[in-house]
């Protein structure tokens, strides 16, 4: 890969924090002469040119994964992603380069130390679950602890906790063959959680599951991640999954990482034609968030102002309602023109009594897919708020529908517009009010 894509620091990777996993210039060549193949690849040979020296599964991979990050490696089969993840726990040894896990370089440690690292630092979830069929669910979940040499009572207690975490508390005595695919993978997840390692490798963990079960598992993983703060490296061939789960995504093709970035970066600024084609049919409603499509409200009213000002501003902006915020921009409610105008005639001084507090507000990180239901239930644009409940933007229904249409007019400028016009910094939001009140 080109050096600039691999080493470009991305904004959401905190500077100064030691990475949990660091991959530096890693190659893996299967075949008779890996060293020679690496030398030629470094000199600029293509994958096909070194074919007689071996199969280059991974070529010059470099990336850092920050503690607590979900880092997704995405690519089609044969792109080298499975080989890459297997070098992160030493199941494969790199042909060249370094894989640093905390303070240990997996490329150079001996077998004993490697086993110790696997027991204490990094665990794995497998595509086809890889459970022991002759052991109960509880004993399967307790397996890593057994390897760690922990006593029976203690390991069963910790395995039960892990099973509770994934919602399989009542199934401890069952055999894996008695469970459905989704439940089996929960056992796989519980097993990895029971090991209590900081780093979790997930190899196509949800790919063998039905779509409904899969999205259920994705939600559960995100919940667990929020609670436990593990560092997760997730392999998938499913772009939607990658975009939904990943804090950052590395796209692999033919052994090389072609782009690393956030879901929105990859969607709005694909590094090359391959990535662009790949993302063309992504389910945008799950990738784009409220923050990426919201607009600045044309009018925002302060709770301290009066009905006269409110009525005038709404008239000037040609809107029929406006959101009301307090001095710290926390959303207080909505004022309708039909309430403000009579209030002016009646000489009401304060806006406060006219505010309808019963408004539909969504968090800025809500995916578009989850905006449709709230949007359908209200006649005014959706209010978008941040963690502190402060109004950061609005999403009119028309905007929501527009955002769903992929870039179809050639240069993809729509993407850029949506992505760039999105994040108005909360501080700069001006006093402007909702447009187009009620076109049902």
């Amino acid at each position: 890969m080109t050096a600039d894509t691999s080493t470009t620091p991305t904004p959401d990777q905190p500077a100064g924090v030691a990475p949990a996993v660091s991959v530096r210039g890693v190659y893996k060549v299967f075949g008779p002469k890996p060293a020679e193949a690496v030398r030629r690849l470094r000199a600029g040979a293509s994958r096909d040119e070194v074919k007689n020296l071996g199969t280059a599964a991974v070529i010059d991979a470099s990336f850092d994964v920050a503690p607590g990050e979900i880092f997704v490696v995405m690519g089609l089969s044969g792109s080298g992603k499975s080989t890459l993840i297997r070098m992160l726990n030493g199941l494969w040894t790199p042909s060249a380069g370094d894989v640093v896990l905390g303070d240990a370089n997996l490329a150079t440690v001996d077998g004993k130390r490697l086993r110790e690292l696997r027991r204490t630092r990094v665990s794995m979830v497998f595509q086809h679950f890889a459970l022991l069929p002759h052991r109960s669910v509880l004993d399967n979940a307790a397996y890593p602890l057994e390897i760690q040499g922990i006593g029976k009572a203690e390991r069963q207690r910790r395995a039960s906790e892990a099973l509770d975490m994934v919602g399989l508390g009542g199934w401890a005595e069952s055999l894996p063959s008695q469970l459905s695919g989704g439940m089996r993978q929960r056992v796989g997840l519980a097993r990895a959680l029971a090991a209590d390692t900081d780093v979790l490798l997930m190899d196509e963990a949800f790919s063998a599951l039905d779509p409904l079960i899969r999205s259920e598992m994705q939600e559960q993983l995100l919940e667990l991640q929020a609670k436990l703060g593990k560092t997760i490296i997730f392999i998938t061939h499913d772009l939607n999954e990658a975009m939904h789960l990943g804090d950052r995504i590395a796209v692999m093709r033919d052994g090389r990482i072609v782009q690393i970035g956030t879901a929105e970066q990859i969607l709005s600024d694909p590094a090359n034609d391959y990535v662009e084609k790949f993302v063309a049919d992504v389910d945008r409603s799950r990738v784009l968030t409220a923050a990426s499509v919201m607009q600045r409200p044309r009018v925002t009213l302060s709770i301290g102002s009066g009905p006269r000002l409110a009525a005038r501003e709404m008239r000037d902006a040609d809107v029929t309602s406006a959101y009301v915020v307090d001095r710290t921009r926390v959303l207080k409610g909505l004022v309708h023109a039909e309430a403000a105008v009579p209030a002016v005639r009646e000489g009401v001084e304060k806006l406060e009594g006219l505010v309808d507090p019963d408004v539909v507000a969504v968090h800025q990180d809500t995916p578009l897919a989850e905006l449709f239901a709230p949007a359908a239930g209200t006649s005014v644009p959706l209010a978008v708020v941040d963690d502190g409940g402060r109004l950061v933007g609005i999403v009119p229904r028309v905007t929501l529908l527009e955002a769903m249409a992929p870039a179809d007019n050639g240069d993809g400028s729509d993407d850029a517009e949506v992505a760039d016009g999105t994040a108005p910094d909360g501080a700069a939001v001006e006093t402007t009010a909702p447009t187009e009140g009620a076109p049902a």
């Binding site: 297997r86 726990n89 199941l91 086993r115 110790e116 690292l117 696997r118 027991r119 204490t120 990094v122 665990s123 794995m124 497998f126 595509q127 086809h128 890889a130 459970l131 022991l132 069929p133 002759h134 397996y143 890593p144 390897i147 760690q148 055999l175 894996p176 063959s177 008695q178 469970l179 097993r191 090991a195 490798l201």
Partner: protein
């Protein structure tokens, strides 16, 4: 003979392979005589012990014990069938022969498995070993069975021991093959899981590979026992004892009655051994687990 020799003799010289093997066996007999003596004494004493255990009690006691075993591993049908079958064997006056053959089968199978299963495990884990073992097994399986009897008779003379040794050589192949196959067939991801959680290779073998390969290994054990039984009959030719003696005698005397009775006793023994080992295979934890449904 002379014509044949002159036909090919101009192109290919007579290769005295048979003579070389013979002199190699002779040399071994002379050089390792004490070793072979020790081996013979060792196997003879174990065989005598086994045979004593099976033949000394009255037949109905042994038949009841074997029937109880069949009942325990499989169910009452096999138990009753075993009891009736062995009563018939006793009724045909073949009981002592059958017990001698059973002792031979048990001993030869045990030795074949003791050697074959570890060899199969080794071959599964090491491609070089596998490459060497495979053609050797092919050779051992395709060589006509009673050819093994010739060198073993030269070395061990007559009696049960040459029969046991020849049987081990003849029956070992499926023990090795099924074990190797079973272990190679274990889901690579499950083995990877063991490795990924920091297990040692030895522990992966013990906790994952062998249990998961057990249904296949058990099928191999079943095959070893069946082959052993057929060879034990053939080794009647060297006076190994048991049902084989009567089969060979019946053949030499064209005695249809004796041949049928001894042959039927072999069939009954075979069915018993086959059903019991197959039932044992079904009782392997993995086989049970895979049968379990919601």
């Amino acid at each position: 003979m002379i014509a044949t020799a002159s036909d090919t003799g101009t192109f290919v010289p007579r290769v005295e392979l048979g003579a070389w093997v013979e002199s190699a066996i002779d040399w071994m007999t002379d050089t390792f005589d004490p070793v072979f003596d020790a081996v013979k004494t060792f196997f003879e004493s174990i065989y005598d012990g086994l045979e004593w255990v099976l033949s000394t009690p009255p037949f109905f006691v042994v038949a009841l014990v074997l029937a109880a075993l069949a009942f325990w591993v499989k169910g009452w049908k096999l138990g009753v069938g075993t009891l009736l079958g062995f009563c018939l064997v006793a009724g045909m006056n073949q009981w002592d022969n059958a017990m001698e053959s059973l002792a031979l089968v048990i001993l030869a199978s045990a030795v074949a498995l003791l050697l074959g299963i570890p060899l199969g495990i080794w071959a599964a884990r090491n491609a070089h070993v596998s490459r060497v073992v495979r053609p050797v097994l092919d050779f051992m399986q395709t060589m006509p069975a009673f050819v093994y009897l010739i060198p073993t008779v030269v070395i061990f003379l007559t009696g049960p021991v040459p029969g046991i040794i020849a049987t081990v050589i003849f029956a070992i192949a499926p023990g090795v093959r099924f074990t190797e196959l079973g272990i190679r067939q274990v889901d690579a991801e499950v083995v990877e899981a063991g490795r990924a959680f920091g297990s040692t290779d030895r522990r992966i073998l013990r906790q994952i590979q062998i249990p998961l390969a057990m249904p296949t290994i058990m099928a191999g054990i079943n095959q070893v026992i069946m082959l052993a039984l057929s060879m034990v009959v053939i080794s009647g030719m060297v006076g190994a004892g048991g049902l084989g003696n009567d089969v060979v005698a019946a053949l030499q005397r064209v005695d249809v009655a004796l041949g049928f009775e001894a042959g039927l006793a072999v069939v009954i023994l075979a069915i018993f051994l086959d059903r019991v080992t197959a039932a044992l295979a079904d009782r392997a934890p993995v086989a049970k687990a895979l049968r379990a449904t919601r």
